[in-house]
Subunit: 144 residues, 2 copies
DNA sequence: TTCCTTGCAAAACTTTTGCATTAAA
DNA sequence: TTTAATGCAAAAGTTTTGCAAGGAA
């Protein structure tokens, strides 16, 4: 019987280098979490990371997973995404990009910057300046 | 001494008509909540609605506020907004529009559709169709 | 009367925190 | 050795739910 392929993990040394260059002390747990997140561009909740850790035979406490994700986010190693009010997602793709959000499945898909082009954008309110543009294109199963 | 002006309330009959046309039974509590929400285009959390209710001398249980907001959202009378992972906001402006999000204050400001114009948008993934485009323009206090 | 809604308290969740223990440099 | 991170359990916060009591048609 076909077996669920184990999700591939990023090379630990590469994760360590990445953490050090963000001035983050590379503890065992942080590296393990980084190996999961940085293996590919993806969107994971804290709970999903815990699942993948335990699937990989590693035990990391829930508190540490949250601490680590918040630390990574504060240092720009991941980006927080709020599409589902029930849980926060962390996006390991730190290049600028947008998202498709499938309303039926909850799935997020990246949209590269060149796929969207503005011909007009409003000026920020007085006293403020642009900090970023976030776009979520909601899609649903095609009626048919 | 200047007094905090009581936020104005929408006319009850107008709220009742609105609920009926969405096939929602206009109970006392639903009308009271509608009077707050529909008084002007605004973005309110469940907690803020409870505050305004009690400021107006009305008592509605927390459970009913949540039930009502979810009902209104399901019927398209308000739109749910997820910018703050800690709480869900409900937007009583149901016309299509976008938002400025002030990162320093958390404040949301409407951006009308004509203020943004696309010259290119990606095709939805195979098997899906467009359901909506959500844009949040993040702004911060101007450095100076 | 019949069906639906409300209110309360408790439950369910996600996320944060305090503190003793352990690991990193 | 000194400083910082981990793990646990408890706490905090928002949202949901079960059920008895009350309101709408």
């Amino acid at each position: 019987m076909p077996q669920e392929p184990a999700p591939k993990l990023e090379d630990p040394d590469s994760v360590i280098a990445r953490l050090r260059s963000s001035e983050i002390i590379p503890t065992t747990q942080r590296v393990e979490i980084g190996q999961i997140l940085f293996a590919s561009p993806q969107h994971l909740s804290a709970e999903q990371i815990l699942e993948r850790l335990s699937a990989a035979g590693r035990r990391v406490s829930k508190a540490t997973v949250y601490n680590t994700l918040n630390l990574f986010a504060a240092r720009g190693l991941v980006r927080q995404i709020n599409v589902d009010p029930a849980r926060t997602c962390f996006d390991s793709n730190t290049r600028m990009h947008y998202h498709f959000h499938n309303l039926d499945t909850g799935e997020l898909t990246d949209v590269d910057v060149p796929a969207i082009e503005f011909s007009r954008l409003p000026n920020p309110p007085a006293g403020t300046e642009l900090a970023g543009v976030e776009i979520v294109i909601r899609v649903k199963r095609k009626a048919g």
